[in-house]
């Protein structure tokens, strides 16, 4: 009897273990889907995490408790996954479904920021001008105000941005980021831009001078030599054989073509120069706002 009893005891002890082994993992229980989604989010696999958070919501017949937090997380996933159109749509959904949620103010700000990240600055400004359905706290109000100004900056409307930041009331105006943005807008306004008209005019007087003015000395000198030599050849042709000189007409046409191209090129090079200056400043602004937003 004794060995049989021992065997029975061993079998009884092994029952929970064997049962656990036989039981398949319940991957699609809501809590397991949520755990998996969180792990994907932590891993940085944001778009896949967004899909899993959606799956979690769909696993209930009606939206579960704290669905607003999940929708907010989905919006964050899309934002971090650089799908800004979907992130804006998700945060909008949160605002529509849960206007009184504690996450509604942040969602409002995130919608404006998603449009900003999409470079739809007008859309962002238009949205941030719509009335809020909640009472924002001080931090959020400040963020929204700064975001509105940022849209002016990224639209390269430096004057409008400076005027906007100047028009803010304290304490928003005294905030260090607001002050930084105000300084940037004034810096943008005062950037040492070159004049398109002056570049074109200089190149019309001395070929290549406009390009030298926009700091493209080698291009300018090449234009000067090209236009000068073709014009000289045209002059030689006409001087020698009169108005019927074939050489004169060929080189004359070439010279005219290069001359007009040189003026147009100077105007373009000034545009490029100015754009380069503005983009360098926008890069600096991007670094400054990276922490705040």
């Amino acid at each position: 009897m004794k060995p049989a009893l021992i065997l029975l005891l061993i079998l009884l002890a092994a029952v929970p273990y064997l049962a656990a082994q036989a039981e398949p993992t319940k991957y699609f229980l809501p809590e397991n889907i949520l755990r998996f989604a969180e792990s994907l989010y932590q891993e940085g696999d944001y778009l896949r995490a967004a899909g899993e958070f959606q799956r979690y919501l769909y696993s209930f017949d009606a939206l579960p408790d704290k669905a607003d937090a999940i929708i907010y997380k989905i919006g964050l996933c899309y934002k971090k996954g650089n799908d800004f159109e979907k992130s804006a749509a998700t945060f909008r959904k949160l605002l529509d479904l849960y206007p009184q949620s504690p996450l509604a103010p942040d969602s409002y700000c995130e919608i404006g920021y998603s449009y900003f990240l999409m470079k739809s600055y007008d859309r962002s400004m238009a949205f941030l001008s719509t009335p809020m359905s909640f009472n924002p706290n001080q931090d959020l109000s400040l963020k929204v105000l700064q975001l509105r100004g940022l849209n002016y900056l990224y639209k390269k409307q430096w004057n409008a941005a400076a005027a906007y930041f100047h028009s803010l009331e304290p304490p928003a105006k005294k905030n260090s980021l607001t002050q930084t943005l105000l300084n940037f807008s004034e810096e943008g306004w005062r950037l040492p831009r070159k004049s398109q008209f002056l570049a074109g005019f200089l190149s019309a007087i001395i070929p290549g001078a406009g390009k030298i003015y926009s700091r493209r000395t080698a291009d300018g000198l090449a234009s000067l030599v090209t236009v000068g030599l073709t014009a000289w050849q045209a002059y030689e042709g006409f001087h020698k054989d009169g108005v019927h000189s074939t050489k004169g007409w060929i080189y004359g046409t070439l010279s005219a073509f290069f001359y007009v191209g040189n003026i147009y090129g100077s105007v373009v090079s000034v545009n490029i120069y100015n754009e380069h200056l503005e983009n360098a400043l926008l890069e600096k602004i991007g670094i400054a706002i990276h922490v705040a937003f």
Binding site: Q21, P24, T25, Y27, F28, N32, R48, Q233, E236
Partner: protein, 288 residues
């Protein structure tokens, strides 16, 4: 050269065996997605399995990581594919399985054009793996890698080793076919870019003709001859300024262009010719 997805599938299919744990729901789903070509969905399911079994001693995560690597590879995400397959090798139970995973890793590296990393890994397997099958496959992949790199001599040496291991299975005619193709590839002389350049330096267009591009060669010859004639005529008429102008603006541009184009023509010819030979040999190997 094959399109990369095709070559990746070919190389990996040679080495991979179907997943052996497909009774699990997540793995079942993953396999179905893989079969349907829905690689992103398959990746999600493999990741789900790994997440829920990472602390399960019974689960063979190595196999799942290998399948995940394959899914990443098929989705064209080579870095992720390498990372997953490396994990597969690290978590493998037993030396043979670990070496097989390393072979898969080498195949992925070849598919992502990371030939030096693949060769380094394959060399280690050739030297240190205790399993004959692994060594055989390592030689095979090494040979394929050399073919992609157009290193015919090295390809021949490694494929010779592969056929030594495979003497029973592969028909002798196949080895002969490959040997003869490699011999031809070795003997067919490629065009020298520097010779093409020098030929076009002495006679414009000659370099292009040397590379078999008669049309461009004759065009370069005609253009440079016409400009040269203009310059000589100007000099004969003592129009030194005109001659200088034509020499500086026209001759210089077209003459230099002709030399550079000749060099490029030789390089393009070589690339075409190497690719043709590599494709022929790979076609024979594909029938493995």
């Amino acid at each position: 050269m094959w399109p990369f997805n095709k070559s990746a599938s070919f190389l990996i299919a040679l080495l991979m065996t179907a997943g052996g744990q497909a009774q699990d729901l997540a793995l079942n789903l993953a396999e179905k997605f893989m079969a349907a070509g829905e690689y992103e969905e398959a990746i999600t399911e493999y990741k789900r399995y790994i997440f829920f079994h990472c602390e399960d001693d019974q689960a063979d995560l190595s196999d799942v990581y290998a399948r995940l690597g394959l899914a990443f590879g098929n989705a064209g995400r080579w870095n992720d594919a390498v990372e997953a397959t490396e994990k597969s090798a690290q978590t493998a139970r037993g030396e043979k399985t670990r070496d097989e995973r390393k072979l898969t890793l080498a195949a992925i590296q070849i598919s992502s054009k990371n030939y030096s990393a693949a060769k380094f890994l394959l060399l280690k397997l050739e030297m240190y793996s205790s399993d004959e099958d692994v060594r055989k496959n390592a030689y095979f992949l090494h040979g394929v890698c050399c073919l992609y790199e157009h290193s015919w001599t090295e390809a021949r040496l490694t494929l010779d080793e592969y056929f030594k291991y495979n003497s029973g299975a592969a028909p002798a005619s196949k080895k002969q076919d490959i040997d003869s193709l490699l011999e031809k590839a070795l003997l067919t002389r490629a065009k020298s870019p520097s010779l093409a350049k020098w030929l076009s330096t002495f006679l414009p267009g000659a370099g292009q003709i040397y590379c078999g591009d008669w049309l461009k060669g004759l065009n370069a010859l005609a253009l440079n001859a016409a400009i040269g004639y203009l310059i000589v005529t100007d000099l004969q008429n003592k129009q030194v300024q005109d001659a200088l102008f034509n020499a500086l603006f026209l001759f210089q541009r077209f003459y230099q262009g002709n030399r550079t184009l000749a060099e490029n023509a030789a390089r393009q010819y070589n690339e075409r010719y190497h690719r043709q030979w590599a494709e022929k040999i790979l076609n024979v190997l594909r029938e493995r």
